[in-house]
């Protein structure tokens, strides 16, 4: 099964095509203020690089965020319309889960972090490895980095684009006897594809036209402020 995954939750867009465990093609480029300009060109580049046509893709995966609101809306819209226009299935994937997947070998707690646009606001979630996959522990976290640090009471690997920064920060709080390591990476289209593939192979899929970004609860407060 050939699956194309895309993620635009950062000021980057990443596209990957996989077949089983094999990466057929991948491309990541930076996006100016949003992901609109390059996203289709990147998809087309990856499809051609894989030696395929769009019609030969069996299914799609799209990162639902959290992250940059406009960025994710571009990715989710592109994903849903790709699935609609080609008639192929699609699965929406939490971008935090995709990050955690990058640390799936870790025998410790995994903490994925995505910046929320300001220094004091982050999106995060905790995961643990389970049978080669990662399983989320508890709810999504939306708040300050220090609030997150209080939730970490054991050895942890921090994953994300600014993993080094947050790892240093948590270390600086002098939480006793905890080993903190980091994996500095961005959400990869190929990881989104692989998480989608696992669901698609089980015959599971999302309603393409109904797909909507994962805004998380923080958004309601911010929108309310904007309205006021």
């Amino acid at each position: 099964m050939k699956v194309l995954g895309l993620d635009t939750s950062h000021y980057l867009n990443s596209v990957g095509i996989i077949e089983g465990e094999r990466l057929l093609a991948g491309v990541t480029s930076s996006a100016r203020s949003d992901s609109l300009v390059k996203i289709i060109a990147n998809i087309d580049f990856a499809v051609k690089r894989a030696g395929l046509t769009l019609a030969q893709i069996d299914g799609f995966g799209v990162g639902l965020g959290p992250g940059s609101w406009t960025g994710i809306r571009v990715g989710v819209t592109v994903g849903k319309m790709l699935a609609y226009a080609t008639g192929k299935p699609i699965c929406g994937v939490s971008t935090l889960e995709a990050l955690a997947r990058e640390a799936f070998n870790a025998n410790t707690l995994i903490c994925s972090i995505i910046g929320g646009g300001t220094k004091d606001m982050i999106y995060a979630a905790l995961y643990r490895q389970l049978n080669g996959a990662v399983k989320q522990e508890g709810d999504y976290y939306v708040g300050s980095p220090s609030g997150l640090a209080h939730l970490i009471k054991e050895n942890v690997v921090i994953v994300g684009q600014e993993a080094d920064f947050y790892a240093e920060y948590i270390k600086s709080l002098n939480i006793p006897d905890i080993k903190i390591t980091e994996i500095k990476t961005i959400p990869q289209g190929s990881t989104i594809a692989s998480l989608a593939q696992a669901r698609l192979e089980r015959g599971d899929k999302d309603n393409a036209l109904a797909l909507t970004p994962l805004y998380l609860k923080e958004s309601a407060a911010r929108i309310y402020q904007e309205v006021k």
Partner: protein
């Protein structure tokens, strides 16, 4: 040629299928009116979220209503210029994806050009050259239109758009949102001569507009009453205010048409649905030997059909957008002069 037109520049999620820039096979508009009433106006973030939820359904519904399948689409047109950036992004992302996946041409359209084409869709016999007044909540312009896609800007607003003045006065009077329809309704039983509001720039030599002073004049006249929660003669205020706006729009457009020696007028955009505006234009046009054209009411507000029609015209001129098409929230309508 079957063109899919997509419009998400403000608060309507819209898609339409138009054959040869002329025949509307379907036009679907999901309005966010419930949200607008709740918040008393457009909240960009809220509107962009709603567009993302609705865009796919609206496109599918447009195909279903037209009895067409995705494979029948020959080209995709989308509003990519002028509007709220977060809103434009959603429609443009959808349009680019459809164009890529279906392997058909893509064309990005300026929102105001869409409104101009709404009138051509309603009135295939609209002659060229003509003078066009396009007026909505976002813009107020007089254009000399030599032929399809050839515009010369004669005048524009220096402050508020006419529709914006309607919105602000309606809000001040507690009449609700959007201002155009609620003032039109309230004015039905009012006396147009009850209050004498200014007609800004009506005698100016150029064709520019200014509605900010008129709005302020209405607000200043009734500020105290509103602060004291006194009952206001709403129909009279609405009718007198509306008459002032309409007088200016009609006088300047007719003057522009006479100066350029055209025989026809096109009045388009959201405010062109206003009943008093239509009636007064009709009378003034007849008196001056001009013929005036209005879009059908369903094509006055934002819709996908006007975008498809404008797109068809641009495609016929050999224009194409690449898949790197970007959105531009604020940019003037490109003026191309006809043969001088």
């Amino acid at each position: 040629m079957l063109v899919l037109g997509i419009e998400t520049s403000c608060d309507e999620t819209a898609a339409a299928l138009v054959e040869d820039g002329r025949t509307i096979l379907s036009s679907v508009i999901a309005t966010q009116m419930d949200l607008l009433k709740k918040y008393g106006g457009v909240v960009p973030e809220v509107a962009a979220r709603r567009h993302t939820e609705l865009i796919g359904y609206v496109i599918e519904e447009a195909l279903n209503k037209a009895g067409k399948s995705k494979e029948d689409i020959d080209a995709v047109a989308v509003t990519a210029k002028q509007g709220l950036i977060g809103c434009l992004l959603v429609g443009t992302a959808a349009a680019k994806t459809m164009s890529y996946a279906l392997n058909v041409p893509l064309i990005g359209i300026h929102h105001i050009e869409g409104h101009i084409f709404a009138n051509k869709l309603s009135n295939p016999d609209l002659p060229y050259p003509h003078v066009c007044l396009t007026v909505s909540g976002g813009h107020t312009m007089i254009l000399y239109v030599a032929e399809n896609c050839h515009y010369e800007l004669m005048g524009t607003t220096v402050d508020d758009a006419a529709g914006e003045a309607f919105d602000k006065v309606a809000k001040f009077l507690g009449l609700g949102f959007p201002g155009g329809p609620v003032i039109d309704k309230a004015a039905q039983t009012g006396n147009i001569k009850a209050y004498k509001f200014p007609r800004p720039l009506i005698y100016a030599k150029n064709y520019d507009f200014s509605f900010s002073g008129l709005k302020t004049s209405v607000i200043n006249t009734f500020k105290e009453q509103v602060a004291n929660h006194e009952a206001l003669p709403l129909p009279d205020i609405a009718a007198s205010f509306q008459e002032a706006v309409v007088d200016v729009l009609v006088a300047k457009t007719i003057k522009a048409a006479l100066e350029r020696g055209v025989k026809a007028l096109s009045v388009t955009g959201g405010v062109s649905a206003n009943r008093r505006l239509r009636a007064n234009f009709q009378t003034a046009a007849e008196r001056n030997g001009l013929k005036v054209f209005f879009p059908s009411l369903s094509l006055c507000t934002d819709n996908g059909a006007m975008v498809a029609a404008a797109g068809y015209s641009r495609l016929m001129r050999g224009e194409r957008s690449t898949l790197e098409l970007d959105v531009i929230p604020s940019t003037p309508l490109e003026m191309t002069r006809g043969q001088d």
